[in-house]
């Protein structure tokens, strides 16, 4: 696990807390609304502080090393308005999503089986733990050597990198499942399929969502590496192009656009998904004091 992964995961958490807060805002009494506003203010303040530090540093370094925030954001606007942003970002996102899909298809059943069957747990634990410690960079190299410079290597590298993490999360989630509900479903003779779909999976949703949040951070790191190595489009490729002409401004601008896209995914898509699948849970106690 690298620092970048942790930071992205942390961003994921704070973003989801924020979106929960926004969702509940209109149900609160005035005092709580002030609390909520203060919380949002602090989060915005944190981002502004980062930009301020960046700007202060840029006063002391040449723009080739630390470009001014204003110039970088102008470059972001330029990238977005010239049109290749959407196709590049689209390619990268597609690779992330396909890789993600592959990982989910393998990890969800595997994690559930490991959580329920002792023998399978013992058998699959070593490869899963080994897989978790393997750096994404090495997976990227291995996949490129195996599949060549193709889309397939990007899909495979993303999939295989996040698979162990997803599996562990679902495996541990399965172990923490409410045994009493399993007994209940046995008392009413629920079929194995019904046990999985009606009793087990709903209890895993929050684990799966957490895994998706963290997995997205990992997936983006790996896909960028694959694109840097040899694909001819995507955000990683653009970053490498910026690097080749030593344009700090371009590298930063592409990184920022990606962060913005990630935040939109986190807030918009995953946040909505979470609200949709946790509708049954009263939201009052979700707000932290």
């Amino acid at each position: 696990m690298t620092d970048q992964g942790k930071i992205l995961a942390a961003q994921g958490e704070s973003a989801s807390a924020l979106s929960n807060g926004l969702a509940t805002l209109n149900r609160r009494r005035p005092g709580q609304i002030n609390e909520a506003m203060k919380d949002i203010g602090l989060r915005i303040g944190s981002i502004l502080t980062l930009i301020l530090i960046w700007w202060l540093l840029s006063l002391f370094f040449p723009p080739t090393l630390i470009p001014k925030p204003s110039a970088t954001f102008a470059e972001v606007a330029n990238i977005v308005s010239t049109g290749n942003f959407f196709s590049e970002m689209g390619s990268t996102l597609r690779r992330v999503l396909v890789g993600f899909g592959i990982a989910m298809i393998v990890s969800v059943p595997l994690g559930i089986l490991m959580g329920t069957l002792r023998n399978l747990e013992s058998f699959f634990e070593p490869p899963v733990i080994l897989g978790l410690t393997m750096p994404g960079l090495i997976w990227a190299v291995l996949m490129i050597m195996f599949f060549g410079l193709s889309e397939t290597s990007a899909y495979a590298a993303v999939g295989i990198t996040i698979m162990p993490m997803l599996t562990i999360s679902i495996w541990q989630g399965t172990k923490s499942i409410d045994k009493e509900l399993i007994d209940m479903s046995r008392a009413f003779h629920a079929s194995p399929w019904s046990k999985i779909v009606d009793v087990i999976l709903p209890q895993l949703i929050s684990h799966i969502l957490a895994a998706i949040r963290y997995g997205l951070g990992l997936a983006w790191k790996v896909v960028v590496v694959v694109e840097m190595f040899g694909l001819s489009n995507g955000v990683g490729y653009q970053v490498v192009r910026g690097f080749n002409v030593f344009s700090m401004k371009a590298v930063l601008a592409w990184a920022i656009t990606f962060l913005i896209v990630m935040i939109v995914i986190e807030f918009g898509i995953i946040g909505c998904l979470e609200r949709a699948v946790t509708r049954w849970r009263p939201r009052v106690e979700a707000w932290r004091r």
Binding site: A187, F188, H189, S191, S194
Partner: protein
Amino acid sequence: MAYVRVQGAVKFFPREDGSEMLVLDRVSFETKEHGITCLLGPSGCGKSTLLNVVVGLERLDQGNVEVLSNHRRSARELPQLGYVFQDPRLLNWKRVENNLTFALKGMGVPRTEWEERIQKYLGLAGLREFRKQFPLYLSGGMRQRVGLARALAIEPEVLLMDEPYSKLDQLTARKLREDTLAICARLQQTALLVTHDVEEAAYMGDRIVILSARPAHVVETSDNPFAPPERDLDDPTFIQFKKKVLKTVLSLVEEEV
């Protein structure tokens, strides 16, 4: 048209250190047909284990449990038992009505009957207008009612209840006892209720089976001299009966001390 017969039930539980602890010591009793049989005993005496054995969640080490029924079953067909748990054990992510269909689906009730059953049993449990709610938006008593409706909806041969009122406040529990008694009387439901509450046993039970502290054996089996409508918690003769049961149970506890 069904009743439960338990004969010479023996059950050991493994201890932490590997030795075995006797939980049920040759327990025998029969439930009363079309009535509520109460298993009354001190906490931790193995009453719930007995229910789990009846429903098939646990196995006996010796003895046997039969669910006798007019309806002839093939050897592989399981008896239809409706279980009401101490905690409601609902699927909180499913609406009230879907908690019922979960059980109906499991017990193999044809889909065409579901709607009728949902309406009937949610109605009986006083939950008609809550069928589209999610359980966590209901009070504890309401959730327990959902658990009751779910168990009744499968139209069980025997209704099994494991201290279903012990986690409710006194007033809610009292109301729910009254309602359960009325529903069971109306449905002519054979039921087995586990409790450690003497008043509850005297009020609910048509037959009261008093169990000793662990290892549990049957101390006394008696039929309630009061028919359900005559059980008035404030009536002196009923209080007299309650005291008699309490005395038996207290003597067991004193032996322990």
